[in-house]
Symmetry: C2
Subunit: 216 residues, 2 copies
């Protein structure tokens, strides 16, 4: 059974924003049981965890002799080995992988920056202006995504690993008011969250936080 | 023959930083000829180009009925269809793909931000502090990468698509002084640049700028 790593005590307090959520969701979609090794912030930077991921981050993936990191790569690995997360045709499969990269490389960067700025730069004199600049970048991306999506249910045909990644990226905007400006995107995120596999994954990672020690 | 898109007039003035460089280099490594359709900044945001890439960016990839975007996805597509950019074994292949995602999702974001800040925020009162914060993030990533690389020639065994992406990401730091703080990384980038396929790709994209109209 593959083993992944996750935060012993997630900074998001169990809201499913940590990147192990993507891997848990993928396992749930394809029906693959998995084990979780929880790591503290201190342990993440130690040698045993760096042997799994040289950048000292979660999630990682271990299955026999194979160790992987990067949530996008792990989700792709799962999608290639099980039915349910990539379309059968070669062209449709390549397009789904294009959208996986788009989620992580084009849509996520300004959204992730926004989270960081809200944590690290809240008291800086430039905070409001930085936030406005990021919101402008995010609105541009969301506008493009909204135009592409139109009335479609998913990014390209049926649900795929690309939708899984894109929904996890967009969920980080919940509470910002930005998703509500694009109703078809808000509905798209809700469709992802309504999937039984999402719910099982969300509950599993939320349970870790609920059971976490108060210090760690 | 596949067709890619590239800037009609690249903002980097032909230094190989635009993301079509990655795709050109991949084609050169595997010996696949390709055609290039140049697009102006205005045309990139028009409907015909958005049909190729909803985010209005370059590069895109067209081959028969298949259209892709995202440089990482295109390089992976090329690597999967030709020998030379991914190892043969399944585990080694999965690890190479992990490093492709690491290049684009873990190493590139602060490096790309640094370029943007140097262009867009040079006159802002927070410029120096922003740059220092980014340089700290970049040094952390480079330190981790340097520790992983050690005396190895490439990231994981032989040269792969992961090295191709990582070298293009790191080249964006040339001139910052940061690469020189990690001599094994500087040597790694130089090894990538010394490959004949890199040089052919670099010359091809530089020729576009040399021949570009003065306005456009």
């Amino acid at each position: 059974m593959p083993t992944i790593t996750a935060f012993e005590r997630s900074p998001d307090r169990g809201r499913g924003l940590a990147r192990d959520m993507r891997v848990r969701w993928a396992f749930e979609e394809v029906g693959q049981p998995y084990e979780v090794r929880l790591v503290s912030f201190q342990a993440m930077k130690g040698a045993p965890h760096r042997a799994r991921n040289p950048f000292g981050q979660i999630p990682t993936y271990e299955d026999g002799d194979l160790t992987l990191f990067e949530s996008g790569a792990i989700v792709l690995h799962i999608a290639e080995r099980h039915a349910g997360l990539l379309p059968a045709g070669a062209d449709a499969r390549a397009r789904a992988i294009t959208w996986m990269f788009a989620a992580l490389n084009t849509v996520e960067p300004p959204i992730f920056d926004r989270s960081l700025v809200n944590i690290l730069e809240k008291d800086e004199p430039w905070f409001e202006k930085r936030l406005q600049a990021l919101d402008k970048s995010i609105r541009t991306r969301l506008g493009d995504l909204s135009a592409h999506l139109g009335e479609a249910e998913w990014l390209d045909g049926g649900f795929s690993a690309a939708d899984l990644l894109m929904v996890t990226v967009l969920r980080r905007l919940q509470g910002s008011g930005l998703l509500e400006e694009f109703p078809n995107i808000a509905a798209y995120v809700a469709r992802g969250e309504a999937r039984p596999a999402f719910k099982r994954a969300f509950d599993a990672q939320a349970a870790v936080f609920a059971n976490a020690p108060l210090t760690g």
